[in-house]
Subunit: 597 residues, 2 copies
């Protein structure tokens, strides 16, 4: 394999020929997903840096990688000898890569990007930024097929249909709902590129990326017809049959450009610029009238789970709880017996227990098992090098989840591995208090996540503490573990929480060099009551797994918080016990016994 | 005086000559204030409707008034025989006046407005809306001088300087700060029209409108010079001397158009479109480069009170608390003695007690004294017709405030007048809990009002209740009782709460036909602590007045809430007692005695 330096030199030759003075290589792909198929790991191929987030910029005489604090060490290691400088995003004094390009180039110079791997919203703001600096932007600069020997192909894994007993609604019905929304927005059609939106709409699933059970494709939904642009390799008999029944036309996924130019010429197309790549956007720009909406109606429909999906996730949660209980009991035993158990063992054991459950498909993200100081690294992933042995004198943070055909799970527990200080307990209790306060919220229709967020933080804030990630993200049904459009964060997001949405509740506290605490359940928004003041909503906690009571300082909780925790534990016990061995049931009974005040 | 019908016919004649098919007459004035000087009460003059909010639209064959639920009854009464239809804003099926105009007029027709009495932001969105409907808009249609016999003149009341012992900062220093902000925004100058912004910046006060101690004027602040466009009648010797010392140029207030055309031609002007009238905006549009900012830096500076202002408001609060205590004791006595006391008596007594305090200037808004069902009318104003006698069997809501030279007050208390039910107590306690939760919040720098708002509502929401007004508004220092840019509401407002800002904390509950509850104190944002997670802020409660403990159901409060209330009452007692007669002090002691749990 050629060295990074050689690859960059080859890229520069093409840049010179094409009169491009700077080239931006991001981590993103045409399908706006969290995980990139190998084919589009261009930045990793070019630079050697394999972290999930990072942007490389190459000019004629310099090259730089921009990445965040999660990857500072890894990037330094992987960039050694590459000639690529490391720009630490988030540190004071680090310029953004756009600012840096602005200062390196001169008016009239040209920046090259591959439009297909940028969200349209992202590319548009780059173009605007650079045009203010009087730089040109070419959005079709993609010389990687020729430079990248043995570049992986577009994933051609077979797809499959998610049966309606899990999806709860036919593809035809969903499309009818989307078409109604298109018309409401005074448009003729919409184009979809985000693989989870397409997976939901067509009841199709696949294996093209890690953790998200999706496949790469594009789709056009119009008043007249629905076309899924997808590699024929993916169209197994089951998929083809279902699509025939549902009236879906399929076409090779490269044909979408043609289709826009011919079938959609002059039409008004509804799109969400953050959910479509810039290549498609620019084809639309030339051929159609674009109508933009910041939240795509298909994503809003996807986020509101139907009764079948809700029944499925309740079932998946029961299985996931059983796996968690088996794992937690094992962990406790191993520690009691002084067995050596590491962070990687934790991930492996969890995977094993989950894989034994019915309808298991895979993990929903890479398990985070952080012992002691590792728990304070928010996106910690144990590696063979970092892998810590768990000792009976601290706390362990475990964030994990699974994809089942009937639902997606995501749970974080922080557990005591032995003696802990009163300070740890106090901090754990502040996090728990926030977790409970949010879970027991009641709020009127129309409330957005930013309004609720403080419920999860006020106890921490009163102690002068905080956590700098969001409190809650949407979760799909046998789909992406992170989905929109709703969220619960310190930032404003105008989408209200609606009945049927699943959102995480995961306050935390991270003390660098010491430990990390996070407690996460998934919450279903449900109707609470209707009064003269309108509809009020609340949450049903979906996750079923004990919360470590050994870490609680009861004196810091209100009676109503303790009552709620006890009631939760009662429900966990009731739902899981029938599926446990007598020993496990006994262990769970102990874990879930009421605490007092 | 000619009848409304005659006035409208005269207006229609001019509309016909000018080829205008619809004319909009709002309640607003050129100075973007809450209260309109008589000269600009054009809508009231034309229609006979005197409510504070309402818009009249006249077409060649129809006329309508749009107003909200506060004024439905009054409008029906006042519009009788006028031929003007009443459009009840907020009721389902009521079109907006813009929609109505859109449906009444035909493409190519022209809508006339007087740009000077619309905020630029408002006029711009009307123009955009009508242009989508293919209607023209003329923004200089103002035939009222000729139609309106004996139209009041532009207010010519003398102005006065607020001494620096109250303002805390010289006009010169404030201007220097504003100029720095203008430069930071890459502009050369700014134009101010909002009378409270100008009052703050120039340390000038006046008597041109009710309740707000301001005068009408315009100002230009540039790198080179500061010009106040103001009627010479207002320039008393003190004002002139101070301005001379501070380097302020004055000019007649009609000269501003000229000045923009000449002195500012080609310059970049920073403005806030919601804080400047459309007439000035359109002159800028023709002569300058406009730079828009949604929050004007002068308004942000104004909202952050300096140490002198804070000392002043603490002092004003002490005086206001004394007046409130005298009044509340009187009320209690009168009720005990079966004296007849009405809502209007309440307002009058309060005004009297306040006027006896040092540095009293006037009321800061019209007192709301709502007994029983009147308390449920959020903007209730007792009139001789509605004026209710207060009986010893219910609750009374009193929202009132004063302008003192050293500060502006705004306080609401809900007091028991005798026997009340357990339900009333429970509801009062939910409101009080929200009030206390917000007042005791601790939050990191950067937090906005929407994040805190739920603290004041969560107890009510859990009971299926809500209040549909904001929780908190900014308050000026011897200035408008309602000011921006911060707020605490269910709606998003991007301005964070900063140390030095004064904001109200006024949750409530309104049960139509029964009663209303509101508890309001003013809060000063102050530094709480600095930790590894950054700066945290909290509130100092400025208002000093007992909260009626007879209405509290202690079993619904957390111990920490009870402790906080007791500590507040201790502080009220400590601060007010030295200024009270022995009898009053005794009464206060009883009112503020600790409650238990």
């Amino acid at each position: 394999m050629p060295s990074v330096q050689t690859k960059i030199q080859s890229l520069r030759k093409i840049m010179q020929t094409e009169q491009i003075q700077a080239c931006i290589i991001p981590s993103t792909d045409p399908y706006i997903g969290e995980y990139t198929p190998d084919r589009w790991k261009t930045r990793a191929w070019l630079s050697g840096f394999t972290g999930s987030a990072g942007t490389v910029v190459v000019t004629m005489n310099k090259a730089g990688l921009w990445t965040d604090s999660r990857y500072f060490l890894q990037a330094e290691e992987q960039l050694k000898g590459s000639g690529i400088g490391l720009y630490k995003t988030g540190l004071p004094g680090t310029p953004t890569f756009s600012d840096w390009i602005g200062s390196e180039l001169s008016a009239g110079d040209c920046v090259g990007i591959e439009g297909a791997v940028f969200a349209a919203s992202e590319a548009k703001s780059l173009i605007e930024f650079f045009s203010e600096k009087r730089l040109k932007v070419r959005t079709d600069f993609a010389p990687y097929d020729s430079l990248w020997k043995n570049r992986p192909a577009v994933p051609a894994n077979p797809a499959f249909i998610l049966p309606e007993c899990f999806a709860g609604k036919s593809c035809r019905k969903k499309i009818r709902e989307v078409v109604a929304e298109i018309k409401k927005n005074q448009a003729n059609a919409t184009i979809l590129a985000a693989s989870d939106t397409i997976a939901w709409l067509f009841n199709i699933r696949g294996n093209d990326v890690n953790y998200n059970p999706v496949c790469v494709s594009y789709a056009v939904v119009s008043e007249n017809e629905t076309v899924l642009f997808i590699s024929p390799d993916k169209l197994t008999q089951g998929v083809s049959d279902y699509f025939r029944k549902e009236g879906i036309i399929t076409a090779d996924y490269e044909k979408i450009a043609d289709y826009i130019q011919k079938a959609l010429h002059g039409a008004t197309i509804l799109i969400t610029p953050s959910k479509i790549n810039y290549r498609l956007y620019s084809i639309l720009l030339e051929n159609c009238v674009i109508k933009e909406t910041s939240v795509h109606p298909a994503d809003l429909l996807k986020s509101i789970k139907n009764a079948t999906e809700i029944a499925g996730i309740r079932n998946a949660m029961q299985k996931d709880g059983v796996a968690m209980v088996k794992f937690l009991m094992d962990l406790e035993k191993a520690l009691a017996n002084n067995e050596t158990i590491t962070e990687l063992d934790v991930a492996e054991k969890l995977r094993t227990y989950r894989s034994e459950q019915a309808l298991y498909f895979g993990e929903s993200f890479k398990t985070i098992a952080g012992y002691g100081a590792h728990g304070a690294v928010v996106h910690y992933e144990a590696t063979p090098e970092s892998n810590a042995v768990i000792h009976p004198d601290g706390i362990l943070l475990i964030d994990s989840g699974a994809q089942y055909f009937d639902g997606t799970t995501d749970i974080t527990r922080t557990v005591s591995t032995g003696q802990v200080s009163e300070t740890v307990k106090r901090n754990y209790t502040w996090v728990l208090k926030g977790h409970i306060q949010l879970a027991s919220a009641i709020f009127p229709a129309g409330t957005v996540g930013m309004q609720l967020d403080i419920l999860a933080r006020q106890a921490l804030w009163k102690a002068g503490q905080n956590f700098l990630h969001g409190t809650g993200h949407g979760v799909g049904c046998f789909l992406n573990v992170h989905e929109g459009p709703q969220s619960i964060r310190m930032n404003y997001n105008p989408t209200p929480l609606e009945p049927g949405m699943i959102t995480s509740d995961e306050p935390g506290l991270y003390l660098a060099g010491e430990y990390g605490i996070r407690i996460e359940n998934l919450l279903l928004t449900v109707q609470a009551k209707t009064t003269e003041f309108g509809d009020f909503y609340t949450f049903e906690t979906l996750t079923l797994c004990p919360i470590d009571t050994r870490l609680i300082d009861c004196s810091l909780l209100y009676p109503e918080e303790i009552n709620r925790l006890n009631a939760y534990h009662q429900r966990v016990r009731d739902r899981l016990t029938p599926l446990l061995s007598p020993e496990e049931a006994e262990w769970l009974k102990e874990q879930t016994k009421p605490i007092g005040y």
